[in-house]
Point group: C2
Chain length 754, copies 2
């Protein structure tokens, strides 16, 4: 029996199935002398009772020594074969090395040699533990979830987590398939050996670490000093550097048991100690020694007040959530997902939930995001203190855009009926109040909060009303508060399998927000080429390098002229990312955001994921831009490029990734041809984009100077956005559908309303 | 019992279910005095035996008188109600008129009044027939199909045609679902009251009538004079006006029983009698009087020799099938379909089968073309004298492009294996002969014919060889002759339901030809809006006029840079149509042809369908163009516009169609806004297209002047097609996949081939 993660023995009955006299190999940070006291008492007892031979190996230490990072598979495999006696040791070692060459040969001789070294080092680091006669540990295996977890989590989620899901009666499961959210918080995985530790003196409070954290485990708040009364001894804070929050304290806290040690936060941290540049405002440190204290700090942090989402800070100025520094202070409603350590997708989702999570509906395409987004038994989507959070569902790979459009249509229809009922019941509600509800400006957080209050009041007024229309209105009233519909998926969905539907939904003109997490490959199914895969990248179905270039999804969408389109890369410009997400959501029509998402499938050092994003942009492979149809009404060119002209040689981007490097190694001539062609294509694309951004802004201004007549039935988009406002490279601008229910902003009263 | 088509009584046992004393109303061109002798003896006997009351009405005559054209439904309905006594006559008439107003009200008061007139006229044109005591007719109900029809047609097809399909045993049906083609020829429908008659003296032999005929019922041949020996007395011909065929005769013949009387041929005929401009080289004449003679002529015509598809005409010059005048002489392998009279789609399909039908595989999307393309029991696809013709199948609405790609991949794989076998068996075949097979130039008809001969020879050489590889090669050898893969469907498929797959297949770079029959609406399912529907057109789901403009499918496809794209409209430029079809097929990569197809769903006078196509082009709604990636290698701009700048006011195109006119009538202000916006969009599109066609030809020429190195593994498309060759408005050009089996043109010998 081999246990590859020490954390497992703390939580799982790992030896349950072991026979008497079995051999037990544990990957342990504790040596043979120390380990006995670090394992739970129940495990000790089993080892004694079953007369188990107990070995330890510090595989992570070995891996580090032979430069394999955190890759322990070869080491544990070697130990396992050495102990199991399945083959004679020499033969086993020879076979393992043969397999290493076969598996890693393509990745180069260095990788092969590192793994050979790991094999050799493994045996000298494996030790037998002398098993005492008595179980003396003071450590007890904790309950699967703590006592404060809600009933459903105790009774259902925890049972599935413990591997006893098959023992649950069907009646224990939700009968309509709706699962409670916010359950990843009960699943403390403890998979990080090291976690980031904050240095208050160096921190400039920029929030970049919070912004990039794929698992939402590093968080910030600004709180009044008196909120810190009773803080644990090791709890850290610093004077907050916000004009809007004078005399308050800035708190940055890591969830130690949820961190995955990806190091993105440390890599992105711009604050260095001038006297010791290897020391930053965040540095990795061993988790185990500080786990207990940081758990306590995390709990304290969670109970601190959130910053107000609207209105004024203490200093009197309103805090705008339009840049990283401020957005970091918003509660994420997506946390502790099962995504890979260092995932390049999840930070975009988290940002979206910080901004709109309390009113979001999410249709999720099949792919990584549907796995980490709703991976039974737990879900990372969660709720705020008021119980509001994203509603999430996954339909099929091929129909996600349609699925999300359905959410939009359902809400619109419900809203239409609710508005009609408010009109009909205006005598009961009072004309002024009913008018306020119907005319509510919900274009910002304050407006939404005010509408929520109105809806609460309306429900209260009608709560005892037995009239059928009043009952209907009470049931529907929540829909009178603006909802934000998001359609989320990867490139396999958006460029390939779901593209037909995506195109149809964008063409529909409806107010939906599409977020494409573009890893340029089918990440979740194992690395097949998609139409988003770049020219010459090696992927499954493109073993000789993909022979066709990346499809320009954004350009296709811009062709409609009434779709908001943005291409973003957090690692290149995080404030542009936030700007695009805000603009997309505020646009009362279809929006498409294409987000560069670095991925382990690229064959990169994941800790450098953000740097690689930046290279993608600097090389011209991934220009940042925003296309906002609203700008036409202001006489402006709708298309804006947000990144500079290509300045980094393309090879310094692509050959930083194994998916490109592998071809360079195996077929250097083909790789060189691909590189040349890709460079040519980048130059052509940059030329096209700059033409689009410059070409016709004056014409647009000209024709927009004299808007057409505005009588009904006017076409919303047809207000004099002149022909030439069309970007070169796109079909002409066109209006979204003329008749839609009031979604946001100022409403209008129904005819005859008094 | 009412029979609305006289032809039915000649072929169907219409009174089989009639009870004794029933009333029988027949739409008959023969009056009460004449009709008795014109119906089959068996029908007479039934009328007598069952004591049936027999009434006739010449509904077509009535319809013509009240200007309803061939629309007899109101007339027959009136007669039926008057005779049936379901309601008192006055009340029935009132109800019918009420219903007319409800049904046709939207189409305008004139239509309503015509129908009222039809009701009033119906009763005065209905007569009872005095039934004689004896059946005296010399007419016998003919067999369902003639005796010369093949066995399968006799035993299966004819049974289904006769309405006895449910009596067939399962064992009678093809066990793999493969049906013989060429079966519509046995289904003589006789639905035309009038058919075109040829005036040899006026005819200029342009072939436009043959080209536009939706049912391939008007055909031409050029034959040596001696072939006409034994021609029926009324058989017409004239001196052929072809340089390549001196001293030969031109024959134009109509299939009288298959014609649908759509009149497209007469309308398109450019040759007028100067002394009587209403007389053209084709004029409609009553079918019945000339049916018998023309049937005889048609049979004679069919047996005349076809023109040679390659090599020289008698005059020594090769006939090129690159314009209407010559293509008219090729045998259509698509004939007598069940498409609507005057269909705007089928002429494109017929042209394709004339050019490539003997080697075509067709994947057909669900829609009109799948219905008339494979409507059990008969299929309009047929074979030439050598038994070669299109292979046709229909999968689903949503996967047709993928279905067709599968045909391509299967052929490519089979060809690869066949080529490999030729290489392996070269000692048996002879190195020179094997080399000829592998290196065959199949880029024209002569090359294909030569390869067919080689394949026949190869099969003959190996026919007794029991070696397994030889058996495999004999089984596969036909695939060594070039096959032409066509993916056919309507706009509902291409723009909407199948768009995701279409995009994927185009992006694949594979050699498939996509033909989109664009009626701008879901014609077959009853007129729902598709993304191809124009701005402001009224359709199902767009009752207030479609609020978004037509999607520019061609522009999206051009974005790939390696897809051949053409937009065509036969009614505007029939030679450009042929040029585009030829270019698309000859391009060794994906091709997309978007064909304007007028349709009854547009609410037009269908006889004027071609004129309406011309209006679509002249107004700028439907620019004609071709985008040929091959031109880049010649330093030319790949994009060419084939139509002139918009010259016709848009309203003279759109308001010629009821789908636009209807909104003008119901919501004139909205219609006016739509018109204005549509005009703006047309101007913008024309500007964009002209920019694309002009902008960068010099840059393209520049960079193509210095092609890159051509070593292997060179990218086929990457030979110096400069960045700026990319049309403005499209993503940069890109190469098709590098590795493909040899499909056409010069092959290459496998390595080590002696």
């Amino acid at each position: 029996m081999a246990v590859h993660q020490f954390g497992f023995v703390e939580r799982v009955d790992t030896l349950e199935m072991a026979e008497e006299g079995a051999t037990f190999l544990l990957n342990s940070p504790y040596g043979p002398e120390e380990v006995w006291d670090k394992i739970p008492r129940s495990l000790q007892q089993q080892i004694i009772d079953k007369k188990i031979k107990f070995f330890v190996i510090d595989a992570y230490k070995v891996a580090k020594e032979v430069q394999l990072g955190a890759r322990i598979n070869t080491i544990m495999q070697t130990g396992f074969f050495a102990l199991s006696g399945v083959l004679p040791e020499d033969e086993a070692i020879a076979k393992i090395k043969e397999y290493i060459r076969k598996t890693y040969g393509k990745r180069g001789e260095a990788i092969v040699r590192m793994n050979f070294a790991a094999v050799d080092a493994a045996l000298s680091h494996m030790f037998e533990v002398e098993v005492p006669a008595e179980a003396t540990s003071t450590i007890e295996q904790p309950p699967v979830v703590p006592a404060e977890a809600p009933d459903f989590v105790q009774n259902v989620t925890a049972e599935i987590m413990a591997g006893r899901g098959d023992l649950l009666p069907v009646s224990a499961l939700p009968d309509d398939g709706t699962y409670p959210t916010g359950t990843t918080q009960w699943e403390k995985r403890n998979i990080a050996l090291d976690i980031p530790v904050w240095e208050t003196d160096l921190c400039i409070q920029c929030g970049k670490c919070v912004n990039v954290c794929p698992h939402s485990v590093i968080r910030a708040k600004v709180v009044p000093e008196d909120a810190l009364a009773g803080a644990p001894e090791t709890f850290k804070y610093a004077d907050a550097r916000w004009r809007e929050f004078p005399d308050q304290q800035y708190v940055l806290q890591v969830a130690p048991e949820d961190c995955t040690a990806c190091k993105l936060c440390v890599e992105v941290c711009p604050a260095k100690d001038k006297s010791n540049v290897s020391r930053k405002a965040l540095n990795m440190a061993s988790q185990i020694p500080i786990r207990e204290q940081e758990c306590e700090n995390w709990d304290f942090f969670l109970n601190l007040p959130e910053v107000p989402r609207y209105g004024t800070g203490d200093g009197g100025a309103a805090l705008k959530f339009n840049k990283v520094k401020n957005v970091q202070l918003l509660q994420p409603l997506f946390e502790f997902s099962g995504a890979c350590a260092g995932c390049g997708e999840t930070p975009y989702i988290r940002t979206m939930t910080q901004l709109f999570g309390d009113r979001a509906l999410i249709a999720n395409a099949t792919g990584c995001s549907s796995i980490y987004g709703g991976n039974l038994p737990t879900t990372p989507y969660t709720v705020d203190a008021n119980g509001r959070g994203p509603t999430w569902s996954n339909s099929l790979f091929e129909d996600n855009a349609e699925f999300g459009l359905g959410m939009r249509l359902a809400i619109d229809k419900q809203m239409e009926y609710a508005q009609e009922l408010v009109g009909r019941l205006r005598d009961r509600l009072g004309h002024a109040f009913a008018g306020e509800i119907l005319m509510a400006d919900q274009s910002d957080e304050a407006g939404i909060a005010a509408q929520r209050e109105r809806v609460a009041k309306l429900k209260e007024m009608l709560k005892d009303d037995t009239d059928l229309e009043a009952r209907d209105l009470v049931a529907l009233a929540d829909v009178l508060v603006h909802k934000s519909v998001w359609i989320v998926g990867g490139d396999g969905w958006a460029y390939d399998i779901g593209y037909g539907g995506l195109d149809h939904v964008l063409a529909s003109g409806r107010n939906v927000n599409v977020l494409v997490l573009d890893t340029e490959v089918y990440s979740n199914t194992g690395g097949q080429a998609s139409k988003a895969t770049g020219l010459g990248a090696v992927a499954k179905f493109a073993a000789g390098g993909k022979p066709t270039p990346k499809k320009d999804l954004g350009l296709l969408a811009m062709g409609y002229g009434y779709v908001y389109v943005a291409q973003i890369a957090m690692g290149s410009n995080d404030n542009q990312t936030i700007k695009a997400i805000l603009e997309a959501e505020s646009y009362d029509g279809p929006s498409l955001i294409i987000a560069y998402s670095h991925c382990i499938a690229h064959g990169i050092d994941i800790a450098k994921g953000l740097d690689q994003q930046d290279r993608a942009v600097k090389s011209g492979h991934w220009p940042l831009y925003r296309y906002d149809p609203r700008r036409k009404k202001e006489g402006k060119n709708p298309f804006q490029i947000d990144s500079k002209a290509p300045s980094l040689p393309l090879k310094e981007y692509i050959y930083n990734e194994n998916r490109y490097r592998i071809l360079q190694r195996m077929k250097p001539e083909a790789a060189a041809e691909f590189l040349k062609e890709a460079e040519r294509l980048i130059a052509a694309k940059w030329k096209l984009y700059t033409q689009m951004a410059q070409d016709d802004s004056d014409a647009a201004a000209k024709s927009n100077g004299k808007p057409g007549p505005k009588k009904k039935p006017a076409l919303p988009g047809a207000k004099g956005d002149g022909a030439a406002a069309t970007p070169v490279g796109a079909t002409p601008a066109a209006p979204p559908p003329a008749s839609k229910p009031i979604a946001k902003g100022k409403g209008k009263l129904p005819p005859g309303f008094g």
